[in-house]
């Protein structure tokens, strides 16, 4: 199938064309990392990504660090009977051959005590620590405060 170049280009432009390249290390691949611009630096930011486990043993995401946040934490939003809550998650499993997706309304990296506002168009490094896979650092692009996914 051949797509008209103009259509592809239009899509790429509408998608912002800033999607991060997947980062592979060992059996793990981090893909589609993105963050929402923070509104000031006194309020927390949120970052999202997908981890793929290409190996045949489960691994666990156990830690986070970033120079932009003095208190980054894995949080999960739960919606029950229309009420939303956020709770800290100690660790998240990535099943063998499976993936872990962080997305709005679900799991997110809560970037608290920002050292600098997250500005739209900027990027920042985020280091993920896995029980078996060790540390993997990805560069996270910052989208608008109302962005809802990695392709905006």
């Amino acid at each position: 199938m051949k797509l008209p170049v103009a259509a592809v280009l239009a899509f790429a432009l509408s998608a912002g064309f800033v999607q991060a390249e997947p980062v592979r290390q060992g059996d793990l691949e981090i893909d589609a990392a993105w963050a929402r611009a923070s509104i000031g630096s006194s309020r927390p930011g949120a970052a999202y990504f997908t981890v793929r486990n290409l190996g045949d043993e489960a691994d666990r995401l156990t830690g986070l660090s970033s120079p932009v946040s003095a208190m980054p934490m894995l949080h999960e939003t739960t919606l029950s009977e229309g009420i939303s809550r956020m709770a800290h998650v100690e660790a998240a499993e990535i099943p063998a051959g499976g993936e872990l997706t962080l997305e709005p309304g679900g799991m997110h990296v809560m970037l608290m005590e920002l050292t600098t506002p997250l500005k739209e168009g900027a990027t920042f490094p985020l280091t993920l620590t896995f029980e078996a896979g060790g540390e993997i650092t990805v560069e996270v692009p910052v989208f608008g405060p109302g962005a809802t996914g990695p392709a905006e």
Binding site: R36, A37, S38, I39, G40, R43, P44, G45, A46, M73, H75, T77, L79, E81, G82, I83, S84, R85, M86, A87, H88, P104, G105, H108, M110, L111, M112, E113, G144, P145, G146, A147, T148
Partner: protein, 200 residues
Amino acid sequence: MKLTFAQKMLWAAAALALIAFAALAWTGGLRASGTGEATQEAFRPEFRLEDAATRPVTSEDFRGRYQLVFFGFTNCPDVCPTTLSEVAQVMDGLGSEADRVQPLFISVDPERDAGAELAEFTSAFHPSILGLAGSPEATQAAAESFKVFFAREDDAAAPDGYSMAHASALYLIGPDGDWLRQYAYGMPAADILADLQNRL
């Protein structure tokens, strides 16, 4: 017509199933569920709060316009921005009819959200969104009049050691002040827009 025993049992089972289904549909229709489709008796939410410039704002100020109301807090980087960005898309989608709808963001965390804080937050999503906050009592009263739940929950893993549990739906109030419906969290902006356009 003669029915065998087995046929009679089947007809009985079908009749029972029909009764059960009717009962389910009946109770399901009466319950104010999270789907937003359920019918609910008309009520008229009221509030007396303040805008970012600490001017008093009440529910009476919006008579003649639809109001799209969300309860949230500005230290909420996950759910609240998702909903407010949907509100922004709806407002843009309304085009020339946008002035017939007033989006309101009511803070359930007035301790942290007041004055300029509120304006900085709402304007990041859309200039039309009006942020409102009030005393703890006024906030509670506003939420109760919308039949909306919120609660402060202590949490060492949250900014300032606490987070807010809150209803995540959008509420539509009519030009006469009557509660019309809710749009559940995650309902696409296009669907909300289509519903609004049907009413305008």
